[in-house]
Symmetry: C2
Subunit: 277 residues, 2 copies
């Protein structure tokens, strides 16, 4: 995609090679959708970024300035995706951070065009061999240490699956490589906990805040037996799952409800009756 | 320190902000000591870098070119430390790597001056609250996902300790934030396994290759009861431990033996009889 970028709020495409974001993955990121200059989920992105900065001991990001920068770079784009990277900044060699830390902020914005088919028909999932490590101190955050997701996503390159589910060390399903998981079972909507591994997505937070959701562990066989399955993502919204482990589904009423909710909060998804992508 | 740098073997101090090394910590690094233009442990650094690239599915680094670059940047320095960072390179947004990946190589070199006191008197250790996550797929590698070490090192900023030990999720000691651990107990030299967490240091590999070492888990109380304790680091060599958890030691004959071994392979450590630092 053609991108617009800034580094520390100035037009640039490069940063210091001794930045701790590169050296140690010492930082955080947010990936967000901008519709007509508005970021409907911004309060959740900002809250996660601030809370994670506290957990990592980083200075507080200036979330107002970041939002303004995102909107500036997205100016004129009807639909856009932005990635905000916030690092501990440059420092001497070694794990000890400089005091005071001088963080680095990178914003990258590109036009977004969501294909219609995944929303109408659903996507196929695979179960990744790469399991998530057990690390409560880092769980839930969208930090820059993402090798687990990279390894999981590298497991397949064909079109047989559009996303991969990741299990924890005990084999319980936690989330997809880049999305959270919701499962309708017996009239309840369930999502796995992300307190020992996985990412607490802002789209997941939106569903949790607006619905009556049960947070509990899910075994793969429960997924296969579920009435409906969908993924949530800040950029892609509500993605119906049509196939997993031999089971197939049609997008159902619960999934449709949450797709409509997404449109209602200002994040319209491709119309499910539309034929063209 | 005054540094000399290159990015992809050309004089530069910056890299693309969309490099996957920054975006996802998708890469590896080595930190090595260069004495008079020679890197005595280079074969071990190169072997770890190559083996880790295979594990992560990265293209093979050109280790000959990297060594030549390290030596070029270290030219004229009697003693130097080099950091080599090898990433998956720039790519589109998303966890899927581009095919083919075009890696990025960053080399940073600075003069090294090892203070004498730690080698003569030993260093004090603390036990970090930050525990290492359980992730066999990433264990042992010196990859760019180092938030655990950053959090552990951020636990103290005073001079009461020079290094911190990190335990696994079960509370067993694994390594220090930036060094491996060896313990002399009852005539045996013991080091913990690094197959589920921790880094398999090249200095550790040198000791394992040159000695008769037992690899097994260590509880904190075993450390306190040990005859000798020392840390190993590619840059700092063999560091005697003088204090941990209320116990104190004098540097003993086993530690001295390995310090002499270090001098013998071309990595001289500050003379233990010298008074000045």
């Amino acid at each position: 995609m053609s991108t617009r970028m800034s580094v520390d709020f100035a037009r640039d495409t490069r940063l210091e090679a001794v930045d701790r974001g590169l050296m140690y993955g010492d930082g955080l990121f947010e990936t967000l959708r901008v519709v007509g200059g508005v970021v409907p989920l911004w309060p959740r992105h900002a809250a996660r970024l601030l809370a994670s900065a506290v957990r990592l001991g980083l200075p507080a990001p200036d979330t107002d300035a970041i939002l303004a920068e995102v909107r500036r770079l997205a100016d004129g784009l009807a639909d856009a995706v932005a990635r905000v990277t916030f690092t501990a900044g440059s420092g001497e060699r070694g794990y000890a951070r400089p005091h005071p830390a001088k963080p680095t902020t990178v914003v990258v914005v590109g036009a977004l065009s969501l294909a219609g088919a995944p929303y109408r028909e659903g996507i196929a999932l695979r179960l990744c061999d790469t399991r998530l490590g057990d690390q409560p101190l880092l769980a839930g955050m969208k930090h820059l240490n993402r090798l687990e997701q990279v390894l999981a996503r590298a497991e397949w390159s064909d079109a047989t699956a559009q996303e991969g589910l990741m299990a924890d060390q005990q084999g319980r399903i936690v989330c997809a490589t880049a999305a959270n998981l919701f499962v309708a079972i017996g009239g309840r909507l369930v999502t796995p906990p992300v307190d020992r591994c996985g990412v607490a997505g802002v789209a997941r937070a939106e569903v949790l805040a607006a619905g009556d959701i049960e947070i509990r562990h899910l075994a793969p066989h429960e997924l296969v037996a579920a009435d409906e399955v969908f993924l949530t993502s800040a950029v892609r919204g509500i993605l119906p799952v049509r196939a997993f482990a031999g089971r197939t589904w049609q997008p159902g009423p619960v999934t449709r409800h949450w797709q409509e909710h997404w449109g209602g909060i200002g994040l319209p998804l491709p119309n499910r009756s539309k034929d063209s992508d």
